[in-house]
């Protein structure tokens, strides 16, 4: 798994890595939904294109994950895959592949309620990119 869990007293956080910024963002989206449900049970029967803006890379990542989380919290859909089509420091477009939630098929492992700014970081490392995100659960 290219992400690890971070211990936080009240909530949970993840540390995600990727070779490129594109990989990093796609992996962060997958990691968030990996906490919510078992992606193996998803078939990605629907897709939708989204466009996200931000004031810098950390803000862009938070806004991107916020938008993905709304697939679940508002539309009751579960995201299986993310394909980033275009990304710079302040804007991205992506295809989101998802399924409608079916209680008999999909188990909800954890309720993520919000993506926080707290401790958010997006950094370039020797191996590529690394990001930390804390969720409200």
């Amino acid at each position: 798994m290219p992400y690890t869990l971070i211990d936080h007293t009240a909530d949970i956080g993840i540390c995600v890595t990727g070779e490129t910024l594109t990989d990093l963002f796609a992996e962060a989206g997958r990691a968030m939904f990996d906490q919510i449900t078992d992606a193996a049970k998803l078939s990605a029967s629907h897709s939708r294109e989204i466009e996200i803006t931000g004031i810098d890379r950390p803000d862009l990542l938070v806004n991107f994950l916020r938008e993905l989380l709304c697939f679940w919290t508002i539309d009751a859909c579960l995201v299986k895959n993310v394909r980033i089509r275009y990304i710079n420091d302040a804007r991205l477009t992506a295809d989101i592949h998802f399924d409608e939630f079916v209680p008999e098929t999909h188990e909800i492992l954890k309720d993520i309620k919000a993506v926080t700014y707290h401790g958010i970081s997006v950094n370039e490392t020797d191996a590529g990119w690394e990001a930390m995100i804390i969720f409200d659960v």
């Binding site: 007293t9 009240a10 949970i12 803000d59 806004n63 508002i74 939630f101 909800i108 926080t116």
Partner: protein, 477 residues
């Protein structure tokens, strides 16, 4: 960062660097050691840097690591110079607690306890993404957002007297549904009358010990009698409201070139259009939470009567009080010897108005506001009363609960290989839950000892111990 002990219950970080005021922590020698290990104190220092903060950034004894503001934090701001911060209120706007008393005794309920907890678990929608039996049109939802508890009572959920026993009469009057985003309305539309997940619960308990007889009498609490305690908030509607305003305020601060120590502390001047709009939307979410708790308590009452086959008269269930512990409010307090209207942020902290305060209803005027402090599900909860010290020191505030001490991952590790429900059953506590990690994450060991927390607020004079409740049965999301 140097932490100085001032007396038995108070510690201070002196104003330094970018801090505008000092930070003051209410704690005990054993609990302060845990706090030192986390980022909690740095978070308090960050709060002390916000524009217009008055007197001190305050931490209650149940303080723990949050995001932006620490949980268990209190901060008051000047209405002209100061800011309002969605992160300073928290995601679950008006997360709160409500307690009802009954005429039932423990002996009467004990033989039927299992049936009762099962009936409650079946009737109360709980768990991730649960939706309620109350389906509202957009027009009705907006009415509920505008009038809170009153909307619920007018629609048959409860009685007029419930309203007087709710903080702010269950309604923040500045609520303006047009300030709430469509996403927040969408997320909340089917969630009225639901408990939710995480640390939210409904608990059947018993009055186990009385510390202050006159106050217990005023609150209608009798030794050995059954109580119903409820902890929940504004569900997805509150979360989305917080999130949407955090995003817009962070963007505004960036455009204006205003730095904040942590983006989660994004805020706006109280008197700015953005600050005013957040306050009106936050008030809607607070009213949603009050309507939610009003409906859930009504449903619990119906279940109790059905499961125990008793009349409303035999049950005699009445609301003791309903408090909110994630909120920002305009209140009058004394700052530098002068009365001043301020905006108090309580994030994981409870209002603690003392005897004689004009906001209290006639029944509680003599003894002070009831304060409800839930503990973990295996130990105890407390009812306190507001005390004068809170007006002198903490902008009328006190603690809100036990406060987490283990992370969710650490709790799961500690729970590994144990049957927590059996352990609780051995102590006479029945638990029903939905989430597969709920029991481990919410295990008693994950929380501070609530008795130590209330001893600090009692000892420091910001509230008084009145009653201890012992849990008998718990329904969790």
């Amino acid at each position: 960062m140097e932490l100085t002990q001032l007396d038995e219950f108070r510690w201070e970080i002196k104003k330094q660097g970018p801090m505008r005021v000092p930070a003051r922590i209410y704690s005990s020698p054993s609990m302060i050691e845990t706090i030192k290990k986390e980022e909690t104190l740095q978070q308090l220092v960050n709060v002390a840097q916000l524009p217009g903060i008055l007197t001190a950034a305050l931490a209650m004894p149940d303080i723990h690591w949050g995001y932006g503001f620490p949980i268990g934090g209190v901060a008051a701001f000047d209405c002209d110079e100061g800011v309002i911060s969605p992160g300073g209120v928290g995601y679950d706007i008006n997360c709160g607690v409500r307690l009802a008393a009954t005429n039932l005794t423990e002996a009467e309920v004990q033989p039927r306890l299992e049936d009762l907890v099962n009936a409650l678990f079946n009737a109360i929608p709980c768990g991730v993404g649960s939706t309620g039996s109350v389906r509202l049109s957009q027009t009705d939802l907006k009415k509920a957002l505008k009038t809170g508890s009153r909307w619920a009572v007018e629609n048959g959920y409860g009685e007029e007297s419930d309203i007087h026993h709710t903080e702010d009469n269950g309604c923040m009057e500045d609520a303006d549904p047009s300030a709430v985003t469509d996403r927040a309305l969408d997320r909340g539309k089917n969630q009225l009358g639901t408990l939710g997940s995480g640390n939210h619960f409904l608990e059947i308990g018993v009055v186990d010990e009385i510390f202050d007889e006159p106050a217990a009498r005023a609150f209608g609490l009798t030794q050995g009698h059954i109580t119903v305690l409820l902890h929940t908030g504004s569900r997805g509607l509150g979360h989305q409201t917080c999130d949407d305003f955090l995003a817009s305020m962070a963007k505004r601060l960036h455009i204006d070139g205003v730095p904040v120590p942590d983006r989660q502390l994004a805020c706006a001047r109280i008197s700015s259009p953005s600050g005013e709009k957040y306050y009106r939307a936050m008030s809607c979410a607070a009213n949603f939470a009050w309507a939610n708790r009003q409906i859930l308590m009504y449903q619990a009452k119906e279940v109790l009567m059905r499961a125990l086959n008793i009349s409303p008269r035999s049950l005699a269930m009445r609301l003791v009080y309903d408090v909110c512990h994630n909120i920002a409010k305009f209140e009058t307090h004394t700052v530098n010897g002068k009365k001043q209207r301020v905006c108090v942020h309580r994030k994981g902290a409870t209002r603690s108005f003392p005897p004689g305060h004009p906001a209290l209803c006639a029944e509680y005027k003599q003894v002070g506001q009831p304060i409800l402090i839930p503990g973990d599900m295996g130990t105890a909860s407390y009812v306190l009363a507001g005390a004068e010290g809170s007006m002198e020191e903490t902008f009328g505030s006190t603690c809100h609960g036990a406060g987490r001490v283990l992370s969710r991952t650490a709790a799961k590790k500690a729970a590994h290989g144990r049957s927590l429900s059996r352990e609780l059953e051995d102590k006479g506590i029945l638990v029903r839950w939905t989430g597969r990690t709920t029991m481990a994450e919410e295990m008693p060991d994950a929380y501070k000892d609530v008795s130590q927390v209330v001893d600090v607020v009692h000892g420091s004079g910001i509230s008084r111990k009145v009653v201890r409740l012992r849990p008998l049965a718990v329904v969790k999301g």
